[in-house]
Subunit: 153 residues, 2 copies
DNA sequence: TTGTCTGACTATCTCTGACTATCATTATAC
DNA sequence: GTATAATGATAGTCAGAGATAGTCAGACAA
C-alpha cells in the first residue's frame, strides 16, 4: 500500500504545478482531507519539501494561519546557482566566498549592492560571535540560503 | 479564511495613501463597519501601525474623540539606516528582522531581491549551526553589517 | 534499522468583552 | 455667575478564549 506521506507529497506537487509554483494550505484542513493527524503534514513538508530539494516553506500560526510552499525557479540562472549551491559543502572560508561573489558579479548574476550585502553577511566581522570552529559552517549555510533566495526571483 | 485584522490593516493603509499619509478615524465607527468589537481596532493598530513600522498614532478620548494615524516621512534613507543601525542592540530576533526588512522594502530603500537576500542571511535556517544562546547576537551583527554596506553605496 | 505515523504538549497570533480612563456637556448647588 | 457634580461619549487595557501551526519522543511498519 502506498504510504500516506507519498500521497500527500504527490497531492502537494500537483497543486504546485496547477498553481504555477506556489501553494498555500491550512494544516488542519489538509490533515482532515487525508484523515491523519496535523503533525503528519509537518512530517511530509520537512522530509519532502526541503530547501535542498528546491522548495521554500513559510508559515504563520494563530487564527487564519497557514503554510505556504514555493518551488524554486530551476531555469536560467537558477540552474547555475543550483549547481553552485550543491557544490558548496558544509564549510566555506571567507576567502572562497569572496571568489564566488566576484564571479557572480562578473557574470552579472548579482549587482554591486547585492554583492556588497553578501560580503557583509559573510564576513568574519559579521560572524565574530560564532565560535571559530563553527564559523565556516555557518558561512556555508548563509551563502547557500542567500543563493537559494535568488533562485526564486 | 482571511483575517479581519489584515482586512482592517489594508483598509487603513489605502486610506493613508489616499489621504497623503494622515488619517483620522473613530474607533467605534470603524468597528461597526467591520462588525467587530472596538478593541479589535486597538489590536490592529498596536500590531500593524507601530513606530518600528513607521507610523505615529495619537488619540483623544471622550465626546468627539478619535484616533489619528500618520506615516513617517523618510526623506533621507541614509539617515534612517544609520538610525536603525544604532538602534539595533546586541540581539535581534528573526521576527524583528522581518519587520525591519519589510519596512526597508516599503520605503523603497531596498528592492525585492535585496530583501530576499537579507531574509535568507538572517533566517534561523541559515543560522541553524549557531548555538541558540548566541543566535540573536549573530543575527544583530549580520544585520548591522549588511546595513552598513548599503550606506556606503 | 530506517522511515512513517501519532498524540501530547507548546508556541503564536487573533479576537472578544468586561472593566477602566478621559473628555465634553449639561445639570445642580451655592 | 461660578464651582461642582452627574451624565454620556469616546478610547485604552488586559486577561482569557479560540484558532492555528511546531516540536518531539515514542509507537509502529517496511
Amino acid at each position: 500500500m502506498a504510504r500516506l506521506s507519498d500521497i500527500i507529497e504527490t497531492f502537494l506537487k500537483e497543486m504546485l504545478n496547477d498553481m504555477h509554483g506556489t501553494v498555500e494550505i491550512q494544516r488542519n484542513e489538509l490533515a482532515n482531507r487525508f484523515n491523519c493527524v496535523p503533525s503528519q503534514i509537518n512530517y511530509v513538508i520537512s522530509t519532502r519539501f526541503t530547501n535542498d530539494k528546491g522548495y521554500y516553506v513559510e508559515s504563520r500560526r494563530g487564527g487564519g494561519g497557514s503554510i505556504s510552499i514555493r518551488r524554486f525557479n530551476i531555469d536560467c540562472a537558477g540552474d547555475y546557482l543550483m549547481h553552485i549551491i550543491s557544490a558548496i559543502g558544509d564549510s566555506l572560508s571567507q576567502h572562497t566566498c569572496e571568489v564566488f561573489i566576484n564571479n557572480f558579479f562578473d557574470y552579472e548574476m548579482i549587482d554591486v549592492r547585492e554583492a556588497s550585502l553578501m560580503r557583509a553577511a559573510l564576513s568574519d566581522k559579521a560572524l565574530v560571535d560564532v565560535p571559530m570552529e563553527k564559523r565556516d559552517n555557518v558561512r556555508a549555510s548563509i551563502m547557500k540560503n542567500m543563493l537559494m533566495s535568488l533562485t526564486v526571483l
